[in-house]
Symmetry: C2
Subunit: 347 residues, 2 copies
C-alpha cells in the first residue's frame, strides 16, 4: 500500500461556517450542511485507513456540534500500479473500514464514485439537513473562554517516524531520542486516534455551551486556531499554553527538524476538536468525555485561553508539552526536557 500524505490546501468555502458549508434551504427553516474530504493512504492497514477517512470527513460536521449525518458518499480510486490481486484484497477492506465508521456515526454510505488513478484515494462526502438548534456556528468565543482539545497532536510525526523504521538515513537522525518500540506504539496510538470519531465531543459541545469549535487537520493546531480566531464576532484572540502530544513525538519532531510540532504547524489527520468553552464548563467537559458511558479512549485537555485581541492565535514561547502515553505502553517513558508525564492538565 503506497504510503503518501499530502497536505490538502482547502478549497475556498463560501457558505457560512468554516469546516462545512451551511446552505439555507427552501423548506421551513432547515439548513443543508455538508463537507467533503479525500486524501491518500497514510497508514498500512487498509481497514483502519477506511475508518480514518470516514472519521476525517465526519469530523467537519462534528466541529459544528452536529451529531447526526443523513448520508455519506464514498470517493475512491483504486491504484493502477497495484497488482490486481493486491487491489482486490485491499479495496474491500478500505470500504469496510469506511462503512463501519459511518455506521458507528449512525449513518450509512449510499453512493459514491470509484475511478482508477496512479495513487489510491479515499474520502467521502457527509451531508445532513439540520434544524437551527442542531449546529453551533463557530463565531461566538468571548474573553475568558478556555480552549479544549479532544485528541493529542503528533499524528503526522508518528506516521512518518514509522516509515523511517525502514529508512536508515532518516532513522539515524531520530534513533537517539526514541526506540523502535516507542515508534511502533506511537504509530498505533496515532492510528487509533485518527480512527476515533469526534461525535462524543460534538454532543458535549451542546451540553457545555460551546461558543465555537474547529477540527485540527492539515494546518496543525496553530493554523486552525488562527482560522477559528479570524471567524470570531468579538475582539478576541487565542493563546495556547499546553500541547498534548503522543509520547515521544515532540522529541522526534525536534531531532528530525522537520515538523514544527512544538510550533503548532505540524499537519494532523483526523485530529481532535478545538473547542471554546466557558471557563467553568471546560473542566467538566474534560471530565465528562472520559466517562465510561462513552466507551474507551476519549480524552480532552485544556490547552489555552481566549483573551481580548484582534482575532489572531499564537502559541506561547515555551508551551508545556503533555506527553500522552500510548494505550499499549507498559513502561512510563523518561520525561524529556520541557515536558510533563501528566496526561491531563488545567491552567
Amino acid at each position: 500500500m503506497p504510503v503518501r500524505a499530502e497536505p490538502s490546501p482547502p478549497f475556498p468555502t463560501l457558505g457560512i461556517g468554516m469546516d462545512s458549508c451551511v446552505i439555507p434551504l427552501r423548506h421551513g427553516g432547515l439548513s443543508l450542511v455538508q463537507t467533503t474530504d479525500f486524501f491518500y493512504p497514510l497508514v498500512e492497514d487498509p481497514y483502519m485507513m477506511g475508518r480514518i477517512a470516514c472519521a476525517n470527513v465526519l469530523s467537519d460536521l462534528y466541529a459544528m456540534g452536529i451529531t447526526e449525518c443523513d448520508n455519506m458518499l464514498m470517493l475512491l480510486s483504486v491504484s493502477q500500479s497495484m497488482p490486481e490481486e493486491e487491489r482486490e484484497k485491499i479495496t474491500p477492506l478500505m470500504i469496510k473500514g469506511f462503512r463501519d465508521a459511518a455506521e458507528e456515526g449512525g449513518t450509512a454510505v449510499t453512493g459514491g464514485q470509484t475511478v482508477v488513478n496512479p495513487w489510491i484515494i479515499i474520502g467521502g462526502v457527509a451531508t445532513v439537513v439540520c434544524q437551527p438548534n442542531e449546529f453551533i456556528l463557530p463565531d461566538s468565543a468571548v474573553v475568558g473562554d478556555v480552549l479544549v482539545l479532544t485528541k493529542p497532536l503528533g499524528t503526522q510525526v508518528a506516521v512518518n517516524a514509522h516509515q523511517w523504521l525502514d529508512n536508515p538515513e532518516r532513522w539515524n537522525k531520530i534513533k537517539m531520542v526514541v526506540s523502535r518500540e516507542e515508534v511502533e506504539l506511537g504509530y498505533q496510538e496515532a492510528m487509533f486516534n485518527m480512527a476515533t470519531l469526534n461525535r462524543i465531543a460534538a454532543g458535549l459541545m451542546h451540553t457545555f455551551n460551546a461558543h465555537a469549535a474547529t477540527d485540527i487537520t492539515g494546518f496543525g493546531i496553530l493554523g486552525h486556531s488562527q482560522n477559528l480566531a479570524r471567524q470570531q464576532r468579538n475582539e478576541v484572540s487565542f493563546v495556547i499554553h499546553n500541547l498534548p502530544i503522543i509520547a515521544k513525538m515532540a522529541a522526534i519532531s525536534k531531532a528530525s527538524g522537520r515538523f514544527g510540532l512544538l510550533q503548532g504547524t505540524s499537519a494532523e489527520t483526523s485530529g481532535g476538536l478545538l473547542i471554546c468553552l466557558p471557563r467553568e464548563q471546560a473542566a467538566r467537559f474534560c471530565s465528562e468525555i472520559k466517562s465510561s458511558k462513552y466507551g474507551e479512549g476519549h480524552q480532552a485537555w485544556i490547552v489555552g485561553i481566549v483573551e481580548k485581541g484582534n482575532r489572531t492565535a499564537r502559541i506561547i514561547d515555551k508551551p508545556r508539552v503533555i506527553e500522552v502515553l500510548p494505550r499499549g505502553a507498559t513502561v512510563t517513558p523518561l520525561a524529556p526536557e520541557n515536558s510533563s508525564a501528566a496526561s491531563e492538565s488545567s491552567l
Copy 2:
C-alpha cells in the same frame, strides 16, 4: 493538459434511485437527493473541461427530473507533474468553467477539496432537498412507451479521434473514412454537447409525464438502457432502433474497430437523458425541446420503444444511424452506408 478518460465503475448505490441516492429525511416528508462524480480531463480546453465536469455531475439529478440543486461541492486535484506556471493558468480556468455551469444550473459551488495527485482530477457533488413531487423515480415505464434521447452519441469516439490527429499509426486506420476537418468539427460538437446541461430535458420530463429516465455515461446507451430496464416495476423491455450519432463517428468507430458505438457500448461523457415517455407525448417532447425559448442547441430523438419483456434492453440488428451534423458544419457530409442525414426521426 493530460488527456485521459477512464470508464468509472460506479459504486454500488444502496438508496432508491439509480443515478442519485434518495434519502428520506427526518423532516416533513422531504428527501435528500445527491450524487457525485469525478474523472480526468478529456478535452484540451480547461474552461470547457470545468463546464463538462459540472454538467456531468448535475446530469444525475436531472435524470430524476430534478431541476433545482441546492448546493455543489467541487473535487479537484492539481497535477504534481505539471509545471507550476501551467498549473496556475489551467486550474482557475477549470474552476471558472465548473462555477459558470453551476450558475447556469441555478446553483452555486460553496465547498470542496483540492489535493495534489499525478493526474488532474475534476468532479463534484450535487445535493438537493426535495419534496416528493420534484423527482420522478425511474421505475414506471409501461408497454407502448417510447424512448427519447436528448444528446447525440459518439463523444468518446470524437475525443479519441481528435487525439489521433497527432498519432500517425492510429490516424492511418481512420483517414479513409474521415477528414481532419470532420474530426475537428466532431470534437467541437462533442465538447459542446458534453458541456450542455440536461436541465431543460429534466423540466420537460414533468411537462410530458415521463415514466422513467437515466443519463448516458460510461456504459454507453446499451449499458444504461439495461440498467434502467432492470429497475422497472412492470414487465417491460427496451428495444432501440435508432442511434443519433455525431456525424462521422459511426464510420470512425467501425474503421478503428475499437468502440462498439453501433453496438451501444461506447462510453459517453456527460451524455443525454434517455427518457421513457408515453407514446403520444414523445413527439411533443422532441419538438418542444428545440423551441427557441430554451436557447440554442437542445435536441432530442426518438430512439426506441418499450415492449413487454423481462426487464432487459437491446439494440436491433441494423439500427438506423441518424448522423447529427455539427453546428460548425457548412457542407453536408456524404451519407455513409446504413445511415441517414436526417437530424431527427420518428418510428
